[in-house]
């Protein structure tokens, strides 16, 4: 019974932002299992919360898209359709797991696992609440990117192992896309690192907590370079997670279903789990870096709700935005995708870095606001001009057959 009571008090301490929430539970655990218990204690909530969130998101997504398209969305299973994920889950579990004969059995089997593991690892570093960061690594951000870069390998394994031209094509497209969007992703995050000076995510989140006196919380998104960095980070995250405008690899119309073509049943669900968890991880990172992690938007609201509530509220809004984007934007062509990454995103992120430097160096507030905004707006327009389709409505020229 002792451990149960410890667990409850730990839960309470965690939910109410108290320092070192694990202490009560760990005391109740015999000495030599303590480190194992603490590990389990920090992993368990992640494994419970985020797959659940994944489930909810699938439903929310379908309902949201429905609503956007003037229809109801699933409302059969459960109250207003919210048990739909259970139905889907059950379906994937019961579905026959077909493995193509020509497939490379081992790699085919490993691929979904190799995809999900790194994504789950990325959650280890995200600070969900004031002291709810599972592992507070000094090089947290580096860990995040190191691990998330492994997903490309898994995607390739999936695509290649199923021995199918379309899936290989989808996999290579996905890898190319993820590789070329990783650079802007890292660079966008870099500007925040430059300002805060540390790589550890909890320090970054702490740096954005509002001082009691001020009105607006000092989130980085409220600075010009922060806003631009946030936008670029979101676009890159969108591409990294192969979602909405950038879901070329699974372009149903062109190559049927991309790299998870030859998967069915639970492995297929794992891919989706991986994709959505990747989405949550990168939006979690975006929140930590730009939207002030677990801080309240305004100083006076800081005390109202526990910190993790803010984190998940922001996560919810970001997910809503992703769904919203998915409902609106058509798929991007491959060369436009690459063009956007190399011609627009990377220059813009470098410029955001410059703007951040400028922001850091310029003393007076109005001056640095004007300078940074001017720099970024100018760059955005110029680089934008490069990408905008040049519609020259010249005078109509009539040519008659002579």
């Amino acid at each position: 019974m002792e451990p149960l009571k410890g667990l409850l008090s730990t839960l309470w301490k965690a939910l109410t932002d108290q320092p070192d929430p694990k202490a009560p539970f760990l005391e109740s655990i015999p000495e030599d299992y303590r480190s194992l218990a603490s590990a389990v204690l920090s992993v368990a909530p992640i494994l419970m919360v985020f797959p659940l969130l994944f489930a909810l998101t699938t439903v929310l997504e379908r309902k949201g898209l429905g609503r956007i398209q003037n229809r109801l969305g699933p409302n059969r299973v459960g109250p207003a359709g919210f048990l739909q994920f259970a139905a889907d889950g059950l379906k994937t579990l019961t579905k026959e797991d077909v493995v193509p004969r020509a497939a490379d059995r081992v790699v085919h089997f490993l691929a979904p696992i190799a995809l999900v593991i790194p994504v789950l690892l990325t959650f280890a570093v995200l600070p969900f609440g004031r002291n709810l960061a599972p592992i507070d690594l000094d090089a947290g951000l580096l860990f995040f990117f190191a691990v998330s870069s492994a997903t490309e390998l898994a995607v390739f394994m999936a695509g290649w192992a199923s021995r199918n031209k379309y899936s290989l094509l989808g996999a290579l497209r996905a890898v190319a896309q993820m590789v070329s969007y990783e650079i802007p992703l890292v660079l966008a995050a870099l500007s925040v690192v430059m300002i805060t000076g540390t790589l550890s995510l909890s320090a970054i989140a702490a740096a954005q907590s509002p001082t009691p006196g001020s009105f607006l919380a000092p989130w980085y998104v409220f600075t010009p370079w922060g806003l631009m960095g946030f936008l670029l980070f979101m676009i890159a995250a969108c591409a990294e997670a192969n979602r909405s405008p950038f879901d070329l690899p699974e372009g149903e119309s062109e190559i049927i279903a991309g790299y998870y073509l030859e998967y069915s049943g639970f492995k297929f669900a794992l891919f989706f789990l991986g994709e959505y968890l990747g989405l949550f991880a990168s939006s979690g990172l975006a929140i930590t870096l730009f939207l002030g992690g677990w801080n309240a938007p305004f100083a006076f609201m800081q005390g109202w709700l526990p910190s993790w509530v803010w984190f998940f509220a922001k996560l919810a809004t970001l997910i809503a935005v992703f769904i919203w984007i998915r409902g609106t934007l058509p798929r991007v062509r491959m060369d436009q995708l690459m063009g956007l990454a190399w011609k627009f995103m990377i220059p813009m992120t470098l410029l955001t870095l410059v703007a951040a430097g400028l922001w850091h160096r310029l003393p007076s507030a109005p001056l640095r606001w004007v300078a940074c905004t001017a720099l970024l707006a100018g760059a955005f327009l110029v680089l934008g001009r490069v990408l905008m389709p040049r519609t020259r409505h010249g005078r109509r020229v009539y040519r008659y057959a002579d």
């Binding site: 590990a39 490309e152 390998l153 390739f156 290649w160």
Partner: protein
């Protein structure tokens, strides 16, 4: 990943990591199918990353993971695919005088192991200093090691551009090869 992550004695972890690294290294060189070799190489690199983390060199472990597993792995696989290595190799995948090669390698192994076993260095106990923070690394990198950093930067850009230029050239249709 702090030292002694799980209550198990540390050298058990060492042996596991060591074994993992060596086995995957051997497998990555022995298998016929190139892609498998590449994947095993990735496993070996991850093992190494784990080893560095175990040695409290967190930054280098993560760099190893990021650079090797993230970047080099992908290039390797792309290269394999581009050189039609996808399928399993026909015929013997071992070079002509592979026996002398492996013999020499074994000879070298014994020589170096001999050297390692009786060198005075090894008797010193492992010292557990706290791992350097990223800020320290950054500062030292920017101050004491600025020149190597810049040269490495230059080298990397040169390599990147060089690789692109090399790989971009269209193959000239050779005389004996029907276009």
């Amino acid at each position: 990943m702090e030292g002694g992550f799980i209550a198990m004695p540390t050298d058990v972890i060492l042996w596991i990591l060591g074994g993992l690294i060596l086995i995957s290294a051997v497998m990555s060189l022995a298998l016929r199918n190139l892609i498998h070799c590449a994947l095993f190489l990735m496993v070996c690199f991850l093992g190494l990353a784990g080893l560095y983390l175990h040695l409290n060199a967190v930054f280098s472990g993560l760099v190893q993971a990021l650079v090797y597993v993230g970047a080099v792995g992908i290039i390797l696989i792309f290269a394999i695919l581009l050189t039609e290595g996808g399928g399993t190799e026909t015929g013997s995948h071992l070079g002509s005088q592979w026996r002398t090669g492996i013999g020499l390698a074994v000879l070298l192994a014994f020589a170096l192991l001999g050297a390692v076993s009786n060198s005075p260095q090894t008797t010193q106990a492992a010292r557990h200093t706290e791992e350097p923070t990223v800020r320290e690394i950054g500062l030292k990198l920017m101050t004491d090691y600025l020149l190597p950093l810049q040269t490495i930067g230059l080298l990397l850009t040169a390599a990147a551009i060089g690789a692109v230029v090399l790989a971009m050239q269209e193959p000239k249709p050779r005389k004996d090869e029907t276009p």
